[in-house]
Amino acid sequence: MTRHQFELSNLNVAFRSPAQTVHAVRGVSFHVDKGETFAIVGESGSGKTVSMMAAMRLLQSPPAHITADAMRFKGEDLQAVRQRDWWRYTGEKIAMVFQDALTALNPVYTVGWQIGEMFRVHRPQMTRREIRAASIALLTKVGIPEPERRLDDYPHQFSGGMRQRAMIAMGIALDPEVLIADEPTTALDVTVQAQIMDLLQQLKDERQMSLILITHDLGLVAETADRVAIMYAGTVMETGTIRQVLGTPRHPYTLGLLGSRPQAIEKGDKLRPILGSPPNLAAASRGCPFAPRCTAAKPVCSEQFPPTVHVPSGQDVTCHVVAEEAGQGNRQPEVTT
């Protein structure tokens, strides 16, 4: 078995209250290799962010209830790490960059202080002067002009794009091997979005990081990712390389997504939106979560959870219809690639 940089297997997250249980993530499995960009795509509430938050122990429990067959970092079992040792992993080996840096950065501390905190926590032997020098180097790296001066500014004194750059500087401060970027460009202008993505790609290449990109932007995925997982209602619907999933999509949901992209439409055609709205995750259905909105749905779809099948074009698809076509009605345990 190959050792992946980062690997999740059969992750389940439920939020429990006395009144109800919301199954936010159901059986999510994926892995990322060295130097690779892996994108998780889905609409809001599809569980893409919650999966990563669960893996990074950022959900409060209760109400969150998390189970997984495996969570591994370079083969090491992350679930076995005691909470008091967790800080050696988060920020150091696996770092995160969040969306909307205005709220994700602490408004009452300077940017320099927040970047420096990475060193103060993880590199206690560094002196203040060394930390400052390292922080300036980081700001220069992510393309912030006049870094010496900007270090003493507060987040609200930065522009949106600059804030996101500062956030990235903080993420890469300790040379992490995996960088999780959660909608890193959502709050930004289109031109700035492209700059930020270029920066992330360039950093990833230089440092041979693995980049996990969480986004709802298919265009972005097509341009930057190596492999992709399409999530819907807490489940991975289709996963494979960009070429496989976007080139020869098989899952009805993926097909629907690509059909609802403005670019996919010939001039004069109408947009074909996916009809209906995402399911209420509190009412856990036994069947495929997409069944109610699926144009190809069969009776079995609303009764049984669909199997995951490896289709000839190379990707894994979680769908009854595709499984039947491929002559594999039996349910496979999990994704294997």
Binding site: F15, P18, S44, P63, H216, L218, L257, L281
Partner: protein, 315 residues
């Protein structure tokens, strides 16, 4: 760029999911939440008991509370001599503390309630006026309200009661004045917000005068906020009244309030502690109950906390 959704992703994690839970919640009656919370039940029962005392106390114990009984002078706590009514002891004139406490409920609560309601009505009206008028009038009103707010309310009451006479009506008014600023602020803020929203679109489109629209919508907006404030104010005013009565510039004998009773008992601390202790305990339990209920309603209404108390859905 393709957007799967045009709304920005919620800040991920528990909060957004909880919001979702709240959105899909079943409507659970308040009574259900109440019986699940023993502390709130006790508080509610206590308030019911007070209501009963306020309504029927005078009728049941009025004579006992005022008549002198030299035989029972300073009867100690726990005695049953002369009937169970002496269980909490008696004061220097032999009047049973228990009876006096029960009879005092009406005036104590009455003053606080009258004062709280007066503050609510006057404050809200001034606030609405300040909001409607805007400009200079509005600014002057707010400035005055700031003066009032930054000045210690008990000191204010002391000075005013010094210049006027400490009649119950003056007491009610002076206690109300101290609480005006909150209502002025809230009511004015709501009017300004409504103006912002309706002035431009609805009013112009329908051709109605903006004031008419504001007048129609202001009630439902102001009332819930103001009701919550008034409950907490009620407890606050009760404390202020008892402080003033304790200092001898509030309610005067022969009226009885709990604060006055503590004041009358304070000279007997070494010989008859029950004279001051039990009336004070009543104040404490009553303000605590009111605050507990206010706190509880607020938590139940808060979506961030409400889910914790929700009823399990029947399968």
């Amino acid at each position: 760029m393709t957007e799967l959704n045009n709304t920005r992703d919620n800040p991920p994690g528990a909060p957004s999911i909880q919001a979702e839970m709240v959105a899909t919640r079943t409507r659970t009656p308040y009574l259900y939440f109440l019986i699940r919370d023993p502390v709130a039940v006790l508080a509610a029962l206590w308030l019911l008991f007070l209501l009963f005392c306020a309504l029927f106390g005078e009728w049941l114990f009025g004579d006992l509370a005022r008549g002198m009984n030299l035989a029972a002078r300073a009867a100690p706590f726990g005695t049953t001599e002369g009937g169970l009514v002496n269980i909490l002891g008696a004061d220097a004139l032999g009047r049973p503390i228990l009876a006096r406490i029960i009879v005092a409920t009406r005036v104590t609560l009455g003053i606080a309630m009258a004062s709280a309601i007066a503050a609510l009505i006057i404050g809200t009206l001034i606030g609405l006026w300040a909001g409607f008028k805007g400009g200079w009038t509005g600014r002057v009103i707010m400035q005055l309200s700031d003066v009032l707010q930054s000045f210690p309310s008990i000191l204010l009451a002391m000075v005013v009661l010094y210049m006027l006479s400490p009649s119950p009506l003056n007491l009610i008014l002076v206690l109300a004045v101290g609480q005006l600023p909150v209502y002025i602020r809230v009511a004015r803020a709501e009017v300004l917000e409504l103006r912002e929203r309706l002035f431009v679109d609805a009013a112009r489109v329908i051709g109605a005068r903006p004031y008419q629209i504001i007048a129609m919508h202001i009630g439902p907006m102001v009332i819930p906020t103001v009701i919550n404030i008034v409950t907490i104010d009620f407890a606050l005013i009760m404390l202020s009244e008892s402080s003033l009565s304790f200092l001898g510039i509030g309610v005067q004998a022969p009226n009885i309030t709990w604060g006055l009773m503590v004041s009358q008992g304070k000279d007997y601390l070494e010989t008859a502690w029950w004279m001051a202790f039990f009336p004070g305990l009543m104040i404490m339990l009553s303000t605590l109950s009111i605050n507990l209920m206010a706190n509880w309603t607020r938590r139940i209404r808060d979506p961030r906390e409400r889910w914790r108390f929700e009823r399990a859905k029947q399968a």
